[in-house]
């Protein structure tokens, strides 16, 4: 009805609101995106090693190559016969050397290292394999053999994953709290600046809700604008970091790509920010007004 009862948009404080909300959305978006990326990386790493065992077959001493190959294949056959084992494949010395390359340096491949034979075992999902029993059984076929289920690694990765999730939740909460606090301050400042007008409109018979709506609408609009700007900046930053990282750290940093659900979650941020801004403004005005007569 009275769109311009209060020229809130002209106050320095109000013009500040989009910047604050924008910064907060920017930070929240970056935090969420890094959490998504870390979780994706952890997830794929974990998937790689959870469903797998590595069987290490030592050098048998002075046996002939054919004899050795036969023994290895016997182990593979044994493995495949076991419940829960989906696949078992020999990793030849070449492959082992390739795997070790990043560790020993690029020249290791050329070096003439005698290496153990490895068998990569793929397990069915949720298969419960009794490792000691398995080891004992296979040891008959190939004495000295060892099974590695990477359990220590998985536990460490999981702990890092939880840590990242907690940190992200903390950052997002902090940022939402900071944004709400900013809206409280901006709204109170608006009430400060327009104290006399608000009092007067009140005295002329306007209801609290009417006054709250003026601030509310303003916070909604400015919060949303800020949110959109913050999100845009965040997307630009994420892309830039992704690009820079894939160039500079190729091979060292895992390359992950956010999926549709991740982008949707990020796109929700401006709406959430606008809603937080609006409700906070409404609450602040009503609370401040209710203290008067």
């Amino acid at each position: 009805m009275l769109r311009n009862d209060l020229p809130l948009g002209a106050d320095a404080a109000a013009r500040f609101l989009p910047w604050i909300v924008g910064t907060m959305v920017y930070l929240a978006a970056l935090a969420l995106a890094s959490a998504f990326a870390v979780n994706l990386a952890i997830g794929s790493w974990r998937a790689d090693i959870t469903g797998e065992l590595t069987v290490e077959v030592p050098d048998f001493g002075d046996v002939a190559d054919t004899e050795r190959q036969a023994r290895l294949e016997a182990v593979v056959t044994d493995l495949l016969a076991i419940d829960g084992v989906e696949g078992a494949a020999l990793i030849g010395p070449e492959e082992v050397r390739r795997l070790l390359e990043p560790w020993l340096g690029p020249d290791a491949a050329a070096a003439d290292l005698p290496l153990p034979d490895l068998i990569a075992v793929t397990l069915a999902r949720d298969a419960a394999v009794d490792l000691p029993a398995l080891e004992a059984k296979l040891d008959e076929t190939a004495p000295g053999l060892r099974i590695d289920d990477h359990r220590g690694w998985i536990e460490r990765i999981d702990r890092i994953g939880t840590l990242v999730e907690l940190l992200t939740a903390a950052v997002v909460l902090l940022v939402a709290g900071a944004a709400a606090l900013a809206v409280v301050f901006v709204t109170r400042t608006g009430l400060d600046i327009h104290r006399q007008t608000v009092d007067l409109v009140h005295m002329l018979g306007a209801r609290d809700g009417y006054i709250a709506r003026l601030f509310e609408r303003h916070a909604l609009a400015f919060g949303f604008i800020g949110g959109i700007l913050g999100l845009a900046a965040a997307i630009a930053t994420i892309s830039a970091i992704g690009l820079a990282a894939s160039r500079a750290g190729a091979g060292l940093l895992p390359t992950v790509h956010l999926g549709l659900p991740h982008w949707v979650a990020l796109a929700c941020l401006p709406f959430a920010a606008a809603a937080v801004a609006m409700l906070t403004a409404r609450w602040t005005v009503l609370r401040t007004l209710s203290r008067g007569l």
Partner: protein, 225 residues
């Protein structure tokens, strides 16, 4: 209409500013409120337009006990009261027109009606060529006239004016007084606080005289409504 019984007022924890005030204003009556500076005139008016509450005693407005009113009841009641504040209190970013139109808009009046009434009234108080001007660009007396127009535009049941002619010359003061009398004839109860003794003497209305927070004259019992 307005009935005070042994009303006292204090601001916060300060001393009492009004002591045991009792009087009644009959519907359609016209009173001046006089008394020296600091006597409590503005405070008494604030009481009547619900800006302060009695700290003791009973205040009855439009047949309802003010002490018993809930916060949510106040807006509707305030819309029946027109107020001219001593310090004008115009909204700085609204034009004279929008300032005067505000009470009509809060009451939900229609656009065409608003435009006609507000324009007419502003012309009457001599501001016909400053309808779209903001308060900061008006002279003191012009602002005072906008404030008066805003107070009367919605034909309030009760009109309260605090020193409404302090910033205008005698010719305009007379014109404004005629406006108040006109409104009074249409049924509005009027109470005007003023230092302008000439004015009080010229218009022979009854007087409430305050001094040191006490009422010296009170309307005769027969007038109580």
């Amino acid at each position: 209409m307005v009935l005070l019984e042994d009303v006292s007022v204090r601001y916060g924890t300060g001393p009492e500013v009004l002591h045991d005030i009792s009087f009644a204003l009959a519907p359609g009556s016209f009173h001046f409120l006089v008394g020296p500076s600091g006597a409590g005139k503005s405070t008494l008016l604030k009481l009547l337009h619900l800006a302060v509450r009695p700290s003791r005693g009973r205040l009855n407005l439009f047949g309802r006990d003010v002490n018993a009113l809930a916060r949510a009841d106040l807006p509707a009641m305030r819309r029946r009261i027109g107020v001219v504040f001593q310090e004008f209190r115009l909204i700085p970013h609204l034009s004279a027109f929008d300032n005067v139109a505000l009470p009509l808009r809060l009451a939900g009046a229609k656009g065409g009606e608003i435009r006609q009434h507000v324009t007419e009234l502003l012309q009457w108080v001599g501001l016909g060529d400053q309808i779209e001007t903001r308060p900061a660009r008006l002279s003191g007396g012009q602002q005072q006239r906008v404030a008066i127009a805003r107070a009367v535009i919605a034909r309030p049941s009760l009109l309260i004016a605090d020193e409404p002619t302090g910033n205008v010359d005698d010719r305009i003061a007379m014109r404004l007084m005629y406006l108040f009398e006109e409104l009074n004839k249409l049924g509005t109860t009027v109470l005007i606080a003023t230092h302008n003794e000439a004015l009080v003497n010229r218009f022979g209305h009854r007087q409430l005289r305050l001094d040191g927070g006490r009422l010296l004259t009170r309307p005769r019992p027969a007038e109580v409504g």
